[in-house]
Structures are given as C-alpha cells and as structure tokens.
C-alpha cells in the first residue's frame, strides 16, 4: 500500500520537478550562449584590433583620455581578467560611450530599438497573414498553377537582394507613383510632434490622438514593412506548405473525408490544427530573422533603427557602438530562438 502511494507521489512530483528542470536548463542555455557571444565580441573588440583603444577612442583622443580608458578597461591586466571586466560591464548594461553620439551606447540603443521593433513586427504580421494561407493553398492544390506560382514567389524572395528591392520599391512607389511616403519614419513636418511613450510611433500617435501623424507614419512604414514581409512570407509559405503536405497524406484526413466533412473543415480544422505548433516556431524564427534583415532595409529607407545605428557606427569606426549593437541584437535573437523552443514544448506534449 505504502509503496503505491510512494509511486503516486513520485509521479505527481515529477512534472513539477521537470518544469523546474526545464526552466533551469533553458536559463543555462541562454547563459552559455550569451557567454559565447560575449566572448566573440570580446575577441573582436579587444584582441583583433592592433590597438583596441584607438578603435574605441579614435585617433585624436587626448593623452589623459587614453590613459583613463586604459586603466578602466584593465588593459594592463591579463586577458582573462580583461574578459571578466568586460562581462561585468555588459551585465550592468555598460557598453561604453559611443564616439559618434558622445552618449552611452545603451541609451542610444534604447532610443533606436523601438523603430526596428515596429518595422519587424509589421513585417512579420504581413508575412503571417499572406504566407500561411498561401502555403496552405499551395499544399492543398499541389501541382496546380497556384502551387507553381507560390513556389516562384518564394524562390524569387530567396534570391532577391533586399537592399536592391528596397531601392526599386522606393523608385517606383515613391519616386514615380508617389503612393507612399519617402525615407524616414514620418515626413519632415511631423517630426517630434508626438511625445514618446512607447517609442513605437504608430502607437504613440494613437495615444496622443494625432491621426494625421498616424496616417503619415503608416504611409512611411508600409513600403519597408512590406519588403520585410515579403521575405518572411517566402520562408513561412514554404514551411507551411511542407507541413501541410505531410498532414494531408495522413490517414486521419482520409477518415475525415470519409465521414463527409466539408473540404474546408478537413483542411482548416483538422490538418491546419495539427501544424499550428511547428508554425509558431517558424514564425518566431522568421521574426528574429527580420530583426536582423532590417539592417539593410533600414539603410535604404533611412529608418532610424538599430541596423542604421550599427552601420553608421561601423563606417565611422565607432567600435563601442558596433559591439554594443551586436550584443543586443544577438541577445534578442537568442531569446527569440529559445522562446520559440519553449512554446513548442508548451503546446506539444510529445516534445516535452
């Protein structure tokens, strides 16, 4: 009797334990990956340049500044100690001061990140709402012209240089047709009208009730977001199609059809219901991809996001800003990856 109770207790205890263990393991993975990332940025910033101080301060730094930074970075200490100094700085959110803006890098990043977030989010929304139906239809109508068209759309998306497509889009829709707003987040007359609350200008303008600012912001974001959306659509539609093909060949689909269910119910309720979980992972991955893919897009559209920030810093050899930006983008990337993994486990008991 007591033995049975014990096993029961054991069984009951184990799920709690496994949840704790999973969380601990996930945090461990994040920590190790981030440590690896920081090690690489450390190597890039401190070991690769011939004189890391010049790469941080520039060539015209005064002697006092040079020496102060020398002591602060601990360059007289062994590399291992320097690495720990670096880690400690990063953990406190101290990426040093940007030479270009003369402000702490972390403040700059907090200021520019919402712009990138806004762009990537709208891009992903477009990718999801066009890409998933396209993939489902391509799988259901396999081999027809719809499937072929979807395939070509995706292939073209994979092969197109995004910065070039951006230029062509700008040329056609802004330069020739004049349908959309030009570069930047809002037109020059609307700059700094709305107070910054979230940093997302679409949200801020609604909060402030400034509808003309909102309209202008929409006309500016629509083109770059559609571009990014096209890229995520290419990926999402291909993945959706292959997931769906797998389901449509399964026996339960035949059963559902034999039962006399409508094709709509078979496809969307039964087959699609089963691919939701892997799709979440795909969408999260493509979202992370867009955060990065926005680097080139932001340049084309003069979008003041983190991609523009990193590249501008790069061109003026502002190493602190480059590395700080890399670390932040990397952190978001890693977190999204792991988050999608966790979602997968949460929704799909088989993966636990």
């Amino acid at each position: 009797m007591s033995a049975t109770i014990q096993t029961e207790n054991g069984r009951r205890a184990s799920p709690v334990f496994s949840v704790v263990a999973t969380i601990a393991k996930t945090l461990g993975t994040i920590a190790i990956t981030m440590l690896g990332l920081l090690f690489i940025t450390f190597v890039i910033g401190r070991i690769m340049p011939i004189d890391p101080l010049i790469s941080i301060l520039g060539e015209r730094a005064s002697k006092e500044m040079y020496e102060a930074t020398y002591i602060k970075l601990g360059l007289d200490k062994p590399l291992v100690v320097q690495f720990f100094y670096y880690l400690w700085d990063v953990v406190r959110g101290d990426f040093g001061v940007s030479r270009l803006t003369a402000r702490p890098v972390i403040d700059d990043i907090i200021r520019v990140f919402p712009a990138t977030l806004e762009l990537a989010t709208i891009g992903t929304i477009i990718g999801v709402f066009v890409g998933i139906p396209l993939g489902v239809v391509a799988a259901v109508k396999r081999g027809t012209w719809i499937d072929q068209t979807a395939r070509v759309i995706a292939l073209v998306g994979y092969s197109m240089p995004i910065f070039w497509l951006g230029l062509v889009g700008l040329l056609v829709f802004y330069g020739i047709l004049g349908w959309v707003g030009g570069p930047g987040r809002v037109g020059i007359f609307y700059v700094d009208i709305v107070p910054t609350v979230t940093g997302l200008i679409l949200v801020d303008s609604i909060l402030d009730g400034q509808w003309d600012v909102f309209r202008d912001a929409v006309s500016h974001i629509i083109l770059p977001a559609s571009l990014l959306g096209y890229y995520s659509l290419a990926y999402i539609s291909r993945m959706t199609r292959s997931f769906m093909l797998e389901q449509m060949n399964a026996e339960y689909v035949t059963t559902a059809r034999v039962k006399g269910l409508s094709e709509w119910a078979v496809v969307w309720r039964h087959a699609f219901g089963n691919i939701k979980v892997p799709l979440i992972t795909v969408v999260a991955l493509s979202y992370a991809g867009l955060l990065e893919g926005s680097v080139l897009t932001e340049i084309i559209f003069s979008w003041p996001g983190i991609g523009s920030y990193i590249t501008t810093a790069l061109l003026s050899a502002d190493m602190n800003a480059v590395l700080g930006g890399t670390v932040v983008v990397g952190l978001v990337f890693v977190c999204l990856n792991i988050f999608s993994d966790m979602l997968y486990k949460f929704f799909d008991p088989r993966a636990r």
Binding site: M48, Y158, S159, W164, T326
Partner: protein, 312 residues
C-alpha cells in the same frame, strides 16, 4: 546488351553501359549512378535553367577580357550617366563615365571568387567539426556542438559586420567574415550523418581491419556526408552572394574602384531618381545569379537527397 539494335552502334552500347543494373566494377557503378542522377536532374526544367545561368556566369568570368566592350576602370567624365542602349554603352555609364556592362562582366569574376572561397572554407570547417564531434562523442561532442550552437544562434549579417569592423573592409576579410558565420549548419549536418553511420557494420569491419579514427573519418565517413553537404552548399550559395553583395553595398566588402555588384548599387544609389539604371542593373545581375543557385540547389536536392524533396 543482347537486344541492342545492330544499327545504333557504339553510342547505344555506351548508353547501355551507363544504365546497367548490374555494374561490373566499382568505377562502373559510380559512373552509372552519376549518370542516373544526371538524367533525373535533366528532367527538372527549373534546375537546368539554374545550371545554364551558372555555366553562363562561369564563362563570362573566364572570358571577361574578351567579352567586355570597354575597360571597366576607364573613366570618361564627358560621357557620364549615359542612358541604356546608348551609343557604345549598351547598359549606359555610371557617374564616372565607366561602361556599366563591362563592369558587370568583370564583377562576375569577383562574385565567383567570393563564392568559391566561401564554398571551400565553410563546408570543410563544418565537415571537420561535425564528423569529429559525431565520431568522438562524449565531452568532445558536447563542447564542439555547444560552440556550433553559439555561432548558429547569432544573427549572421550583424556578426559578419562586426568581424569586418575589426578586420578592416576588403574582399578577403568579407570572405573570412562570411565563412565564419556560414560553417555551423554544415557541422550540424555532418554530425547527424556521422551519428547514423558510426554504428553501421561496415565501420566495425573497417575497425577490425585496424583502421584508426582519422582514416575512418576521412575515408569512410566524409564521402558519405558529401551528398547532403553539396546540396546544402548549392542552396547556401544564394545566401552567400546576397551577404557579400550586402557587405559590398555597405562599403564593407570590395573597395572602389572594384566593380563588385553590391558596391555598384551603392554608387548608383545617389542618382536613383534621375538615373535609375545605374543602381538597378547590377541588382538584376545579383538576383539572376542567386536565383540560378537556388534553382539548381532545389533540383540537386531532389536527386541527391530524395528523403526531404517533398516536391512533385
């Protein structure tokens, strides 16, 4: 052989020899299976278009000095920003009066150079790391795969940018930066293949014959990883071209006056609204070549790796 028609002669014999179900030697079997693969690939129209594009690219790169109508570096300020189909300049001229067509033709060499180098460095590093991890197992496996995962978890373009920032702009550094970010997927693939091969009987047989781990990895595991690696390389090429062009566009890759396609777009960008062809024509070249690689890669996957082809 017996039902070969008497009139068709040697050609028919060769085809029979190639299509045989009962090869007579190891070399024969290898050639026959290559031929089978080629037949399957040939049936795939899109893949053949891709192959055609790439062969064309290689030919253009090789014969660039013969094909180019003008010197790609020669400036002619009197004839700057000439329109398309202009006299003596089929694709017009850029802001320094250089012939765009000639620059595109020479640019093919740079593209090919970058792609070839990355295609040699990244897969070999990945193959090495993956097979060693898979074959050795234990803590070596854990450490190598953890490193792979770290690299895999990074945003590739941003990491490449950071590398170039430290190494300095230039075409060789761009190659190194792209390779450093491109190897992890190969390591994953090679490890997965190695894990399935490791326990098979023929590896035990080779081991009993006294082969060491190095010989087993190089001679008996690498050849079997090749097909999935080749597919992945072909599909990756498009991404590599786009990454290289992106670096060039940002001014971090090939430096002026080099006729690198991405850098050409960036130069033409300033004149986009009035002289649109200067920036858009090189983009078409990039698009065509990376489309070629994607098409061929798709076809090769159907031939070499039928298990996840999934396409009709």
């Amino acid at each position: 052989m017996s039902n070969a028609e008497p009139g068709s002669g040697e050609k028919q014999n060769l085809r029979d020899w190639l299509r045989t179900e009962t090869p007579t030697s190891r070399r024969h079997a290898k050639i026959a299976s290559l031929y089978q693969g080629w037949l399957t690939l040939k049936a795939n129209k899109l893949a053949m278009i891709g192959l055609f594009i790439l062969v064309f690219l290689v030919l253009v790169a090789i014969f660039a000095p013969l094909l180019a109508p003008a010197d790609p570096f020669e400036q002619d300020l009197a004839n700057r920003l000439q329109p398309l189909w202009g006299e003596g300049h089929l694709l017009g001229t850029d802001s320094l009066g250089r012939d765009i067509l000639s620059r595109l033709i020479y640019g093919a060499r740079i593209t090919l150079y970058i792609v070839t180098l990355v295609a040699m460095i990244a897969p070999i590093v990945g193959l090495f790391v993956g097979t060693v991890a898979g074959y050795a197992g234990g803590w070596i496996d854990t450490i190598l795969m953890r490193i792979t995962d770290i690299f895999l978890a990074f945003p590739r373009l941003v990491l490449a940018l950071a590398f170039v920032a430290a190494l300095g702009a230039g075409i060789e550094n761009a190659v190194i930066a792209i390779s450093l970010t491109a190897w992890p997927p190969y390591a994953r693939i090679a490890r997965a293949e190695t894990l399935t091969i490791r326990g098979s009987d023929y590896i035990s047989a080779v081991k009993l014959q006294g082969a060491g781990p190095l010989r087993i990895i190089v001679k008996h595991i690498w050849p079997l990883c090749m097909s999935s690696i080749i597919v992945r390389v072909t599909l990756d090429m498009a991404g590599i071209i786009l990454a290289a062009a992106g670096l060039g566009f940002l001014g971090m890759g090939a430096q002026p006056p080099s006729p690198e396609w991405g850098a050409m777009i960036s130069e033409g960008r300033k004149f986009l609204l009035d002289y649109w062809w200067v920036a858009t024509v090189p983009g078409l070249a990039i698009f065509t070549v990376s489309l070629g690689f994607n098409l061929l890669g798709d076809g090769l996957r159907d031939v070499l790796d039928p298990k996840d082809a999934g396409d009709a």
